[in-house]
């Protein structure tokens, strides 16, 4: 009884004494804590790096937009000028059309004054062809487009060659591209064009021979002209992307993060890119992406040798021992790549390699310790470290990617870009070495 009373008094006294250990060294304690909390980081270089990257990106974006706007404005001026000229020429149209019946009426020598049609053309097509060939200026102005039997025609019509009475030019008719596919290009000579050669004065056999000969040569000439027009047009088309110095893009990426000891985790990202052409095939590529990366290093339950060995070292009994179980890292980072890009002859196909810098918007690390044996029922202990804009890695990631592009129109393309990112050293504030493998789905535009 006396012993119980003694124990009670002792316990109460200890409670009283230790209920508040006093604040005599509280300031020293706080100073000590501040060494650990929050985790100290040298924010200045990161801030500078961040601002520099943002400045470069905004500057590049501004320059690109200015160039795009300028190009659009110049094109607009040219189009307006053309339209104006064409509409002025349009007034001359009735004269030419009206001159045709007069010509027909004047044809007195059937052996000479006949239209030579080399390729068979249906009546309706023939009419269209005549109209189209006779009115190239109308086609350009857009008036031609309103013709119900014809579809809109672009640059191919601008190259139409006309053989007129006075100019001895070849009259080559082009219908719409659809029509062209259906029927070969027709070459017709105006009866006046033949009569202008004074062939009628020659004997009938010779004149026929000459007409055949001339028509054959005219045909070859027309075919050559057509080829030239085609190649010119296709060259224009392929030159469209080549002439552009800046290419912009937005992308979404899906990728796996992988590291020794970690599970492969799927992640997502996105961002924008800018490509600057330096030479015919070489360019420089940069941009700004945001990537969420997760790593999960796990140790299966029961394989915790450290915990078991610690447990066995207890002399009296086996109290639960804390041991490392799991480590998770969740990183949200800005990715700023600087890549060299080699474009293949086929537009939008490329291979690219370079280095990336990362600014970590958010870093979350969670070390989980579990008690061994698990039957203790004790909760896991988490050691969580978090930081925001606390770390940056300059040029510590190697990039390799290749792109396969599919043009959507003259100004944009859809690109599939498998990529691989490898660490050159530890990344993030906890120096983790992880690689990323995935694919970008990119929309490029000029």
């Amino acid at each position: 009884m006396m012993e119980e009373d003694f124990d009670k008094r002792l316990s109460n006294h200890i409670k009283d004494v230790f209920d508040d250990a006093g604040n005599s060294d509280v300031d020293a304690g706080w100073a000590l804590l501040r060494e650990k909390y929050p985790p100290k980081n040298d924010h200045k270089p990161i801030a500078w790096f961040w601002w520099l990257a943002a400045l470069l990106f905004i500057g590049g974006l501004g320059l690109g937009l200015w160039r795009v706007e300028k190009t659009g404005r110049d094109k607009g001026i040219k189009t307006i000028g053309k339209a104006h000229n064409d509409s002025a020429r349009e007034h001359k149209l009735p004269q030419r059309i009206n001159s045709k019946p007069a010509n027909e009426g004047r044809s007195s020598a059937p052996s000479v004054n006949k239209n030579i049609v080399i390729a068979p053309v249906k009546k309706e097509q023939s009419n269209s062809a005549v109209t189209a060939s006779a009115l190239p200026h109308v086609q350009k102005s857009g008036l031609y487009k309103s013709h119900k039997s014809l579809k809109p025609v672009k640059q191919i019509r601008q190259k139409t060659t006309v053989l007129s009475k006075n100019e001895n030019e070849l009259l080559v008719n082009h219908t719409t591209q659809d029509d062209k596919a259906k029927a070969p290009p027709t070459i017709s000579t105006d009866s006046e064009a033949i009569s202008a050669l004074n062939i009628s004065a020659l004997p009938d056999g010779i004149s026929r021979f000459l007409i055949d000969r001339i028509s054959l040569e005219l045909r070859e000439l027309a075919v050559n002209k057509l080829k030239a027009v085609k190649s010119d047009t296709s060259a224009q088309k392929t030159n469209v992307p080549k002439n552009k110095q800046l290419t912009w893009g937005v992308f979404a990426s899906a990728f796996y993060s992988t590291a020794a000891g970690s599970d492969n985790e799927s992640n997502l990202g996105g961002g924008g890119t800018v490509d600057i052409r330096l030479a015919a095939h070489f360019g420089f590529s940069s941009g700004l992406g945001i990537m969420r990366t997760t790593l999960n290093y796990s140790i299966p339950p029961g394989s915790n040798n450290y915990a078991l060995s610690t447990a066995s070292s207890f002399p009296v009994t086996l109290p639960p021992v804390l041991g490392f179980h799991n480590y998770t890292a969740k990183l949200l980072a800005l990715d700023i790549p600087l890549n060299l890009k080699y474009s293949f002859s086929k537009p939008y196909n490329f291979i690219s390699a370079g280095l990336s810098s990362n600014v970590y918007i958010s870093e979350y690390y969670d070390q989980v310790y579990t008690y061994t044996p698990a039957s203790s029922g004790l909760p896991d202990v988490h050691n969580v470290t978090q930081s925001h804009f606390g770390h940056a890695d300059l040029f510590k990631t190697f990039n390799l990617s290749f792109g396969i592009g599919y043009p959507i129109n003259n100004r944009s393309a859809l690109i599939f870009e498998p990529f691989f990112k490898a660490p050159l050293s530890g990344l993030g504030s906890q120096k983790l070495k992880y690689a990323l493998v995935g694919i970008n789905l990119k929309l490029n535009f000029q």
């Binding site: 003694f6 200890i14 004494v17």
Partner: protein, 177 residues
């Protein structure tokens, strides 16, 4: 340490949840003595106790968002400090089963209990084997039951009772009772 006028403990905790360092400092200084009192009983010296207390505060700061404001903050903090101290003991893997002869404390007259200061008690507790000391602290001072101690230390509840009895016997012996 008293809180600044016009701010309650709950308000302070609420403000600390935003990570504001000024309020975290207030919270730290307000509960420093309390946390140190617990940490001291589980530690070998004041430096170790300060390390335990600070580690516990860092954990508490990080977990403030998950703290249930309806429950007493002191009890929540106490649990964190006790767990941190026990974790530290395990990490260090130092099991100093010091002989009673090594204890620096010298036995005193019967009514000495009320005269014991912090250092005297620390010396007294340091004379106990660590497992006895931990069980004594958990049961007698921090109010855990033997069943709870059994779970925390993963020992049978009966062992907990035995360790407590032996701890008390040794304390009485040290105090000359």
């Amino acid at each position: 340490m008293h809180l600044p006028a016009g701010i309650t403990e709950q308000e302070l905790i609420q403000r600390c949840r935003n990570g504001d360092l000024k309020h975290l400092e207030m919270l730290y200084k307000h509960f420093y003595g309390y946390a140190m009192g617990i940490a001291l009983r589980y530690s070998n010296n004041r430096d170790d106790a300060l390390e335990v207390a600070n580690d516990a505060f860092i954990k508490a700061f990080g977990a403030l968002k998950s703290y249930d404001a309806d429950k007493p903050f002191k009890a929540w903090l106490r649990r964190i400090v006790v767990n941190t101290a026990i974790d530290k003991q395990r990490r260090e893997q130092k099991h100093k089963s010091e002989d009673l002869a090594k204890a620096e404390y010298m036995a005193s007259p019967t009514n000495i209990i009320e005269q014991l200061n912090t250092n005297d008690i620390l010396k007294l507790l340091a004379g106990l084997p660590r497992i006895h000391r931990t069980v004594f602290n958990l049961y007698e001072i921090d109010g855990y039951s033997h069943d709870e101690i059994a779970v925390i230390l993963n020992i049978p509840a009966s062992s907990s009772r035995v360790y407590l009895t032996r701890a008390k016997e040794k304390l009485r012996e040290l105090l000359g009772k």
